[in-house]
Assembly symmetry: C2
Homo-oligomer: 433 residues x 2
């Protein structure tokens, strides 16, 4: 029986036209990250299970992670996210590294999920992290980078917005202000994380199921719902609005506004799934009506490096997946016309592959990418093939051309033909790129 040509379920093959888009996207992301002084790192896609068990979050590890035992009996994970790995790497060289440490990576990540739009079993995810800054400049810088990345793709502020919240503020509201127990707070957080995916009534009954009758007497449910309806910090009850975590949020939002970033807002429902966040958390949301969803997220996680037996390091980071980014760019028509890397398709007249080699090499020395047709087919068929390959120009070489050292190229889009030396033709090809 023939083998299946399908890739593994929920995962993608990248044919050259797909890979070209990915390379374009990653190129833009890399440029912006590096413009802020971030350096690229990488790590193995297989990691020990333990580092994810610690803080990634129960649901992800128990239900969605690829875990297996290797031939030596070690419990191994195909990494579902990069944050535990980068924390491990920083911890390993805690003393040698210089802070602020600015790192980025574009790892491949895997989760065992039911594949659906914008959520496959694997994706590539830009991770940008700043280590060693305990003040809000870290958050402000990362949010500026995100905004610069959107702009570098040509996105307009009405295409996306940035939503900001604070785990510290939520912890204060649930723990101190509403006097919920730790267990109740945790369950309410999980509910809030789903608030935009379930109906209002389902959310309310979820809250009712979590809160004890004592709370109900004190109208905690109503208070909570009214707090969650706040659209700005000033909408919140005075005790909350004046808490230091709220002041921090305001400071970040003001700084962004001063930089001309006007599409950033406070959103008390932003939770982020991971258990390791300790301060400000944020998301960016695609505002296209067909794809109104979170595209990226991050926040402050000051405690993770410290789990590896060294002094902890204040850290802020975010992750941005290639699937949500590509959906965004496609919906907003922001993917430019990406040309085939091959500039020239050499058609050979007769069995002259070896004789033609030095002329073809000359084009390559001038930086022109040349593919050669060795089929020995009729010229018309070779040109058809060049067209099918998506190459811009054909180069025609026969014995006469090799003798005279004058060659002919044809622009396949315009039909225009030019004859000349290698140098002359290099100019024509370069001019059309």
């Amino acid at each position: 029986m023939a083998l299946s040509t399908q890739p593994y379920k929920g995962a993608r093959d990248f044919y050259p036209e797909d890979k070209r888009i990915q390379k374009y996207m990653f190129g833009v992301l890399r440029n912006v990250a590096e413009s802020y002084g971030y350096s690229e790192y990488d790590a193995p896609i297989l990691e020990s299970f333990e580092i994810f068990a610690a803080k990634t979050g129960q649901e992800i590890v128990d239900e969605q992670t690829y875990v297996f035992e290797d031939r030596g009996g070690r419990k191994v994970v195909v990494r579902p996210e990069m944050t535990p790995t980068v924390s491990r790497m920083v911890a390993a060289k805690r003393q040698e590294l210089a802070y602020p440490l600015r790192w980025y990576s574009i790892p491949n990540l895997w989760r065992y999920e039911r594949p659906q739009r914008g959520r496959l079993r694997e994706h590539w995810q830009l991770n940008v992290d700043i280590f060693g800054v305990d003040n809000l400049q870290a958050e402000i810088e990362l949010l500026s980078i995100i905004d610069d990345m959107f702009k570098a793709f040509g996105a307009k502020p009405n295409m996306y917005d940035i939503r900001i919240n604070s785990r510290k503020l939520i912890n204060y509201i649930l723990g101190e202000y509403l006097s919920l127990s730790e267990k109740e707070s945790h369950d309410i957080c999980k509910l809030i994380d789903k608030i935009h995916k379930i109906s209002r009534s389902k959310f309310i009954s979820g809250v009712d199921a979590v809160l004890s009758s004592k709370h109900k007497e004190n109208q905690v449910n109503e208070k909570l719902l009214s707090i969650l309806d706040a659209k700005s910090i000033t909408d919140l009850p005075a005790d909350i609005a004046s808490h230091s975590a709220a002041t921090e949020l305001k400071q970040v939002l003001d700084a962004l506004e001063n930089k001309g970033i006007n599409n950033a807002t406070f959103d008390i429902t932003i939770m982020r799934g991971f258990d390791y966040y300790t301060g400000i958390v944020f998301e960016a949301v695609d505002k296209h009506p067909d794809n109104n969803r979170s595209m990226l997220g991050g926040g402050r996680y000051d405690g993770l490096v410290g789990l590896f037996g060294v002094a902890s390091v204040p850290t802020v980071g975010f992750g941005w997946g290639d699937v949500t980014l590509e959906n965004f760019l496609k919906l907003h028509h922001l993917i430019p016309d990406l040309k085939n890397e091959t500039n020239l398709y050499a058609c050979l007249i007769g069995d002259i592959a070896e004789k033609a080699d030095s002329a073809i090499s000359e084009f390559r020395k001038f930086g022109i990418n040349v593919a050669v047709d060795y089929s020995g087919k009729k010229l018309g068929d070779q040109i058809k093939n060049a067209n099918k390959n998506g190459v811009g120009h054909v180069l025609i070489i026969g014995d006469d051309e090799l003798q005279s050292k004058k060659y002919k190229i044809k622009n396949l889009a315009t039909g225009k033909e030019t004859s000349g030396s290698v140098k002359d033709l290099v100019k024509v090809v370069n001019a059309s790129n």
Copy 2:
């Protein structure tokens, strides 16, 4: 208990200084591959077990492959090599693709092995394949690409050589010329594959163990050993030297010599481990005495695409791992001085992060990568940190500088200071890169 900071056994973390080397290497490989008209593709690191079971080779699949069952009961492999995957992808679009099809990829591959020098459990491997060319131009092109890649790294011909053999020729020698059975031929091939790793006497007793007494009477053992001692095609018995497979080998070697590639030789002991090769096979060997080993290998495998239920496609390809390449470059001192991507380290005098932002953004708009120190430490300490970060220049900004719009930069290598506008300083930074 604290979590371990070690990466998974036999796998590598890439700190920025390591990643910089990898990016340099992959950049050179990409440039040369694209100059020959190859386009990059990619595919998931997890694949179905079946496509490797078919042809990768018993030992690799049974003993060295990461295989596990996913939560849906599918048998999944962390791919040990890319060739079955690329064959699958070509088969999936057999009719739509234009031939010759030139593809390359740099996938991450995993094998469960005892880690040793030049052989880890994971590596990244350049794969270059040409599909749809049934004549020797395909082999000649790939060998030219390999040679061009070495040259692009600055390697001299005495640092490496290229060794070529033919599976067709070996099959003729063992099957027809020496009249071995299929089983005997297979076992002898596996022995030849190890010939340089075991002693001569161990090899001879291995041959004796495989060959039946009938062969021994006919002095097949002696004949085989004398054939394996051949250093060139003309050393071989006339019947073998005149076989079409030998003529092919001579044609490839002659074509390379005509291109000025003089370090390619016939080597009858080159086998390549995979079962799918059908014609010419080749390796490149590091000639450094401390690392005299095969660095890359490939050959013709005309049958693999056809296993996926479509008409087969003649194919030649090779793979080149990053570990062997990096060892080669390091031993021969071919890794250039790779600079930190960050050009400028901004030291702030006082709490002026937000006020300084627009000046810093201006540098970025001119293409300068700027990291900012938010620590509020003394200037001297910030400069020390810049040094530790490996950045070339520091930029000093205080209230006076923001007022006058004249800033000061200092070249940390030479100590030279320059004052001026953003534009003036951009020139100085660019000139030193």
